[in-house]
Symmetry: C2
Subunit: 321 residues, 2 copies
């Protein structure tokens, strides 16, 4: 029998007599045959794969993102092709090129503000969803976290608890999310009429280690902060461990809060107060945008914002009474 018939059997399409169907299926299992993905992609012009470009893979944040993406992608019959550690323009370029013809669309998380300019060239050539994009976000489908609002809310909560000197451990320079969270912190302070004190802002890089390191200079200050707000949970966790090592009690001596609400935040001791972000959903939404844009073709660009909620646990002293 001919290849055409086999193809028809495999796609369960058109008119194939039950008996040929049988025969083909039998032979296929006997030979362990399964169709060749690349060949199919070539002619059908669809790969059933989604490209995912991430700056890094370390930590629960990215793990959750991938899990979210994979979850909806898999449900829609897509696989995901992962590529990480792309900060610079050239790396992103290379990754994008190497993915052409291998994926139907891409989810790109490139919080580095510099690197975003690269993306500009992409416009329209390819279905793209931007995760946490900055300036370029509105040139594509995009999803961003309510960074500013979330940070503002958390700092307001700390203020409401009576804290006057609130330190911030910021994220990497040139990182969009980090910048927005810092802005939220400043907004809240300004709104309550507190003069900004730049010695209270220490720069980190979103890693636990950097959170750990940030504590020492803060404790060395003449007028110590009574609360520390970290731009993400990993750094908050690092800070917690550093505070513990220096014999400070949390929240009695220093209150601590983070951002993201990674799964482990609630298992810390004391449990970590944080700004909850449904990280997995961030990934899910992103993955959901792609197939829809593939099917519907040109449609208005969607800009989604993922809302945040305050999760007050014991590390900042609990709810305001």
């Amino acid at each position: 029998m001919s290849v055409a018939t086999v193809s028809r059997v495999w796609n369960e399409a058109a008119f194939v007599s039950p008996e040929t169907r049988q025969r083909v299926a039998a032979v296929a299992t006997r030979l362990g045959y399964s169709p060749h993905g690349a060949a199919r992609s070539l002619i059908t012009r669809t790969t059933h794969a989604l490209g995912v470009l991430l700056p890094d893979l370390y930590g629960e944040f990215f793990s959750e993102i991938i899990r979210g993406i994979d979850h909806t992608a898999q449900a829609a019959g897509y696989h995901i092709l992962v590529s990480s550690s792309h900060d610079s323009k050239d790396e992103i370029d290379a990754a994008l090129r190497s993915m052409r013809g291998r994926v139907d669309g891409m989810i790109i998380m490139s919080p580095d503000l510099e690197a975003q300019r690269t993306l500009h060239a992409l416009q329209g050539s390819f279905p793209v969803v931007l995760l946490n994009g900055g300036a370029e976000a509105n040139a594509f489908d995009s999803i961003t976290i309510e960074n500013h609002e979330g940070a503002r809310a958390m700092v307001r909560h700390l203020l409401a608890r009576g804290h006057k000197r609130i330190a911030m451990i910021g994220g990497p320079q040139r990182n969009y999310d980090a910048a927005e969270r810092l802005r939220g912190y400043r907004t809240a302070l300004m709104e309550s009429g507190i003069a900004p004190d730049e010695s209270l802002v220490v720069q980190g890089d979103f890693s636990e280690l950097s959170g750990h390191r940030a504590v020492k200079p803060l404790l060395a200050l003449e007028r110590r902060p009574t609360a520390i707000f970290a731009a993400n949970d990993s750094m908050a966790i690092g800070a917690l461990s550093a505070l513990h090592e220096s014999g400070m009690r949390v929240p009695e001596d220093v209150a601590v809060a983070g951002f993201d609400d990674i799964p482990l935040a609630r298992y810390m001791n004391p449990q970590l107060s944080t700004v909850h972000v449904d990280i997995a959903k961030l990934g899910e939404r992103a993955a959901a945008l792609l197939p829809s844009s593939l099917l519907q073709g040109a449609r208005p660009r969607q800009q989604l914002q993922l809302s945040t909620t305050l999760v007050i646990r014991s590390s900042c002293g609990g709810l305001v009474s």
Copy 2:
């Protein structure tokens, strides 16, 4: 100019005059051209992608595995195609089929002992590396963790600290790693002449929640355990938080130990004692095996064992004095 020339330019091969090379490059950038992955794969019979099949994506363990795989894969010029939540035989079958012609080889982690039989059929048809495989491991290249030795060492340490009633929170049923760790626990007890007490063994499923839940029945026992050994860190963390909630002090009232040494173990309070596994290296090694087997063709199968080391922190009371 012809497609052949363009191809030659792109692959930097053969004799192309510098000026044509120039012209082609210029036009390529002007048109934003980049070669079509599927088409290349079809003729070159190589995809520069590695398939990764995981049972789940939740938690730092898998995150680290992926990170390790991606790290060496990327260095070798490979991307990774991820597919998760494959427990049953049929799911694994489907995933394998859908990856044919899309990847050059696969890394499969299928700790479920049942599902392993599916893999048997794969033999030789495809470069495969098994992660934490059980019975089928020696039919493929494989890497396993020294589960038995690691668990045994940790339990011996607890015994050396004077603990007589050591509880174990086990992993999922039918899971290879979990079974081996439980076996190591039993070996250590037997070696020190302690009669096994099955009421001290609670089953979990590797999740934090299950670790949390496992604590209650243990505390309800007439003769409470003085130490709890969890089959992985996530469950140990869950247990820590449950113990804290019930007002138990760690390590004074109950010592706690885990397995895996996920990055956050040392940031817990108290810091979690655990059996260190270089999880990322597990992934790296796996990824390193594949390209080598692709290049060298038939070579003797390799069975690697990843060694473990004891990391004693404060959650079990520190080093034996």
